[in-house]
Amino acid sequence: MILKEYEALLEAYSRAGGDRGILASREVGSLLIHENKVLGANRVEGLRLETEEFASGVRVRFLVEKGVRIEHPVHLCFGLLPQEGLQEIIMQVKMEEGSKVSVIAHCIFPNAVRVIHRMDAELEIGPGAEFNYQETHYHGELGGIEVIPKAKIRIAEKGVWRSSLSIVQGLVGKLDYDFEASCEEKAVAELLVKAYGKKDDELKVWERIHLNGRESRGLAKSRLVLIDRARGEVRGETYGNAPLARGHVDCLEIVNGEEAIARAIPIVEVRDRLAKVTHEAAIGSLDKKQIQTLMARGLEESEAIDVIVSGILRG
């Protein structure tokens, strides 16, 4: 049974554009979870990966040892192939001092009619450590999925956290994203969400960055494109609490449908006279000049819109 699920998940992963060979490589750290079952795990030197299955999901402990800089990105693959189900991933991440890793997560729910995918993560990025996290979702066209990723990230001095979440393929369904990062001295937090809302998709994005340490830096960035009846709400919050802290909230929401609705709520707060936090939010239709420029190169209007939207969601 497990072998069958393993094959089915890999097949879905390949169809979504993933490289099966990477998940099979012994040199690449990886973890493959279907529903609440761990189908495969590959540990590489310096990476401790422990898992524990429970009724509705899997608890994952992910640790990179002190000073270890993992050469190849670690691949995580989370999926649920049946039409209904719940998958909870409870993740604890610890990056020890001076360690570095890039993680590419693939979340695959191609048949979802009534599926919930929840991730609760606690992350500790040690002094001088660096964690780059890139999560891409592959959804089907039914839209019956709720994606609820929540993370609390503590970044010690000179630590770096960079994350991006991309839900561009298929219908988003419901997204309730909530990432909160706290930065100590000279630490860096960059949060990015890119999503393409269609039909009746509902997208809620909440990015919070607390710049608690001197010279810490934060960027809360979001790119949402909404068509049909999709609704999007972005709350980007950045708090400058320490001298020379620098933060920026950058929100772009494009509405290209008669009934689509976009809302942005940027909050910038400064509690230190030497801190500085800025924000920019652009909400509305596609830029006419951009469309005309591409049409003047010979593209039809619809083709021009596709190029612009693809760029926004890629960039």
């Binding site: 049409m295 003047a296 190169r297 593209l299 209007e301 760029g311």
Partner: protein, 231 residues
């Protein structure tokens, strides 16, 4: 042509010959950009006709005009998130990779450095303008309308822009070079001066530029053509 009840272009008659660089000179607010937008189809006129290679294109869309071989380089080109210079230059699929590199070299940009960069706000104004010109060149247009390619750019970029214009004509394009700077139209075959939406002078660059200096640059009412210039 009226905008908000005011005539912006009025009785304008302009002919750009095949393989010609035609300079259009005029001070600010005389209707240069309006004319560029009108030819490209971004706006439509109340009356009059635009004819391209014998075909009336007045009612055609922007895309249809572009497919006939007309294109426009904006005075302030748009910027695009997530679109690389490579993809931007290949939008119409005419330029092969070797040609792209050559085109970038012609506008003084290194392909190694620029092809992978995004056409977004990380580019300076001069870089963006040079890439716009390269994109126009890559399209191999029959008519390139260049709206103030020389404005807002540094002295290093300017010769590359002019070199790009010359190369385009060598490649068989006609160019309508719009500017308020008479030294930029020295490379033109013919120059016309626009004032208050009318062509008030036309001829060889040397004479017309001299005339422009003597009359337009010292004109007390630059947007009102003097009676003797009305035709």
């Amino acid at each position: 042509m009226n905008i908000n009840g005011k005539a912006v272009l009025d009785g304008l008659d302009l002919h750009v010959g095949r393989g010609e660089i035609h300079g259009l000179l005029g001070v600010n607010g005389t209707g240069k950009t309006t004319l560029a937008n009108l030819i490209m189809g971004l706006i439509s006129a109340d009356e009059g006709r635009i004819v391209f290679e014998g075909q009336d294109i007045t009612q055609l869309s922007i895309s249809q005009r572009a497919k006939l071989g007309i294109t426009l380089a904006w005075q302030e080109p748009a910027r695009f998130e997530g679109l690389t210079v490579r993809n931007y230059l290949q939008l119409n699929g005419r330029a092969d990779p070797e040609e792209l590199e050559k085109t970038l070299h012609l506008v003084g940009l290194s392909p190694e450095e620029y092809l992978g960069r995004f056409v977004d706000s990380t580019l300076s104004g001069g870089e963006r303008k040079r890439i716009e010109l390269a994109a126009v060149m890559a399209m191999r247009p029959k008519l390139a309308i260049l709206d103030e390619p020389d404005s807002g750019i540094d002295m290093i970029s300017l010769p590359y822009i002019m070199q790009g214009v010359a190369e385009m004509v060598k490649g068989g394009s006609s160019v309508l070079l719009i500017t308020h700077n008479e030294s930029s139209v020295e490379i033109a075959d013919r120059v016309s001066v626009i004032c208050a939406g009318r062509i008030i002078q036309s001829g060889p660059p040397k004479e017309v530029c001299q005339w422009f200096k003597q009359n337009c640059q010292v004109c007390p009412a630059p947007n009102v053509p003097r009676e003797e210039f009305r035709r």
